[in-house]
Amino acid sequence: MTEVFRAIGLGKSYPGVRANDDVSFAVSAGEIHALLGENGAGKSTLVKMIYGLVRPDDGQMQLSGAEYLPADPRAARAAGVAMVFQHFSLFDALTVAENIALGMENPPPRRELSRRIAQTSSDYGLPLNPNRRVATLSAGERQRVEILRCLLQSPRLLIMDEPTSVLTPQEAEILFATLRKLAGTGTAILYISHKLEEIRSHCDSATILRHGKVVNTVTPRDHSARALAAMMVGAEMRTVDRSNRQAGAPVLEVSHLSLDAPTAEGTRLQDISLELRAGEILGVGGVAGNGQEELLSALSGEALSPAGTVLLEGQDLSRKGPETRRQAGLLAAPEDRLGHAAVPEFSLTENTLLTGANRQGLVRRGLIDPGAARRFAEAVITAFDVRTPGPGTAAGALSGGNLQKFVIGREVLGKPRVLVVNQPTWGVDAGAAAAIRQSLLDLARGGAGVIVISQDLDELLELSDRFAALNDGRLSPPRATEGLTIEEIGLMLGGAHGMEVAHVEA
């Protein structure tokens, strides 16, 4: 097979991060080549360099053996490189043909273009009517428009960025049939994904990236999904250890908690009651925007509720603010890492003061003890494997997963009686997510009560002893997770809100 594209020692740095380091790999004609890696492994930066959106700091690229360094995407397209982005750039109000014409350097006359679109779409098994308006298309059909736009340029190299993340399984099958057909005509395809199974079944080879470096280039069929994941994460995937836990006495009692929405867009909490036992993890599922943030605020003390609605080990905390609740042992980690759970501009050391000021004794009589704060930050960094140059680094400079580990670690090391977390692994790579989940399980094993609010059903089923659904500000009665079926959960969530829908980006 002839080689179409080769990267030799590509490198790119951003302030504080080495996004790509000495990346080398090659893609041949007719090959579907996967680029595999966790969030933040450097996949996006790499393809942006190939597509001319970002200039590499060092290394070089070759296209069909010739030196290749596109100044911008237009130059990349002219050289025969096309790219389908994860997020579509289409105008809803225009038709398919109009949208495609807009993306072309020299669009042919409309009639000629429509004919070519119809021709190409039938050649590759991508049924699409050029005269339909984009607003009426499904996510899969919109993606076809993007792909057709690329195919009309007859590219030598086609880059696809996580194309199946917006597709139904059936649509994904159609896509792979198309890609296979395209590869058959000699086009090289660079396929970016972190979905192991589809890479194993559809890709000819895979280059695995970790922390910006190439770990390995393999034939994915020859390896198990587990082995690929281990290469991606860099360690054996840990299965979470749920053993050795038992529910003790009730620690947190919420009774008939109703709270008006804080803002016009907020959700009203309605008559929420729950009882949490020591050593227990209660999972609260539901699509975000159904009162998740409001529930966390009502428990953290950011929102006060009528007397007698929030009790920690019999002590009424309903009218107490966050600091009093923290002193009593009720800790929380909000969903938004940047600007709520942490201050992006502040160093990690300073960020320990947000919740650790009194609980960790970092402040005495109002005086900050910088040494104690730094030591506590270092303790969190060590215990939770937060990858950062040091405690003096600004929180905003950390990747999402590392900052989330820091935020959760800060609260876990606070030895809570009850910890409430909202979307603990949202936007976090697989390795960090597993570590965070394990730390929550360990916390419960140590006798604390934990409430996990999450959109991720798998996560909730993996972690929680009991499950409740939060829907339109109402909490369903919690049920034991053991033996709960997806159908039953669907009913608890009110039927109308399928959890899957939440993952689709419009």
Binding site: P15, G16, A332, H340, P344, T355, I368
Partner: protein, 356 residues
């Protein structure tokens, strides 16, 4: 083409360089302005920045540096604390006036008694008066959501009307031959705020400014209160999560900055100003906003910024006297300084990149 790229963290070098750049740009733009007005730009810049310190009349003007910088620094310290929290007290001028009136009123009520308690009582009255005036926008914001920016600014004009009323009415000097204005406190020894060391311009207000600099440095960098103030400014939701009550912080910052401005007013009324007149408010409250920003809300910066702005005041007066330059040109000059400092500020958070 040039493009702005956000920096990962604010550049320390640029944080120090931007105020210097702003001063240079102001000199250049100011020079162009003076030239357009028909003055020799180099002579004008020299008159404003050099002559007050080293010129022929420097013996008179040098002490004025502390006299003018004292109130500017005292007020700016309070403002900077609020600005860090994102609470914008634009009405320090009003709080300064009310503080001056309240402090002077105590003195006039005791006249002609003797007692070492009189001056401390005046300071307390000045601080309380300024604090009360500052708390009006705070309470209106907390209770009704009114913008503290607008309310505090509008209250400046109310305060200016009140000085006029006071100097024509209740506080008018009964032995003043009908002229508006209060008794001159410099001539009432227990209530006067004299020059402490002859020829330096040092008075109790300058001492208070020094204490305020150290106190605000301590609060901002060592005390949990300062941490909460900075958190509220950087991420309000994180501050609430940490347990900060926003309404309390609003009252604290406006009350504190009002108290410092009120004290500045009292020291002026009892010292260099000497009396409450219709024109008691002389713009220190507004200029202090420039001082706070020029000093990057940092105590050392505020010290330098206060001295620089004091210099423009003195130099401006000198330029009026010797070059017949219009009085407004100095205000334009100070305004340009704030404009440039805010403009150059973008360089600390962004870097400029050339795009092909």
């Amino acid at each position: 083409m040039l493009r702005l790229e956000p920096r990962a963290s604010a550049s320390l070098g640029w944080q120090i360089a931007t105020p210097v750049l702003a001063v240079l740009a102001t000199m250049i733009a100011g020079g162009i302005l003076f030239a357009a007005l028909g003055f020799d730009p180099l002579a004008a810049i020299r008159t404003i920045f050099w002559d007050p310190l080293f010129g022929t009349a420097a013996g008179y003007s040098r002490p004025q540096l502390l006299v003018k910088a004292g109130p500017l620094i005292l007020i700016a310290c309070g403002l900077a604390l609020g600005f860090r929290a994102g609470i914008w007290n634009i009405g320090a001028e009003g709080q300064y006036i009310i503080g001056g009136i309240c402090g002077a009123a105590v003195a006039l009520a005791t006249y002609p008694n003797e007692g070492i308690w009189i001056f401390p009582a005046m300071i307390a009255a000045g601080a309380l008066g300024g604090m009360a005036w500052g708390l009006i926008p705070a309470l209106l914001r907390n209770w009704f959501g009114a913008s503290e920016i607008l309310v505090s600014l509008m209250l400046v004009y109310v305060a200016q009307r009140i000085t006029a009323w006071m100097s024509f009415g209740p506080l008018k000097n009964p032995e003043g031959f009908g002229f508006p204005g209060s008794r001159n406190l410099q001539q009432y020894e227990p209530a006067s705020n004299p020059e402490l060391i002859a020829g330096t311009g040092l008075h109790w207000g300058v001492v208070a400014a020094g204490v305020a600099l150290i106190a605000t440095w301590f609060i901002v960098s060592r005390h949990i209160l300062g941490f909460h103030i900075r958190t509220a400014g950087a991420a309000p939701r994180a501050a609430r999560f940490a347990g900060v009550k926003p309404s309390w912080l609003v009252a604290l910052c406006l009350g504190f900055s009002g108290a410092l401005a009120g004290m500045a007013g009292l020291f002026e009324a009892a010292g260099p100003g000497g009396q409450i007149t219709e024109n008691f408010g002389s713009g220190y409250g507004f200029t202090a906003i420039i001082v706070a920003f020029l000093g990057r809300l940092h105590p050392v910066g505020i010290l330098l910024g206060g001295l620089l702005l004091a210099l423009t005041y003195i130099g401006g007066e000198l330029a009026q006297l010797t070059m017949q330059m219009p009085a407004a040109s100095v205000q334009v000059f100070q305004g340009m300084l704030l404009f440039f400092i805010l403009g150059f500020d973008i360089l600390t958070r962004f870097r400029i990149r050339r795009v092909r």
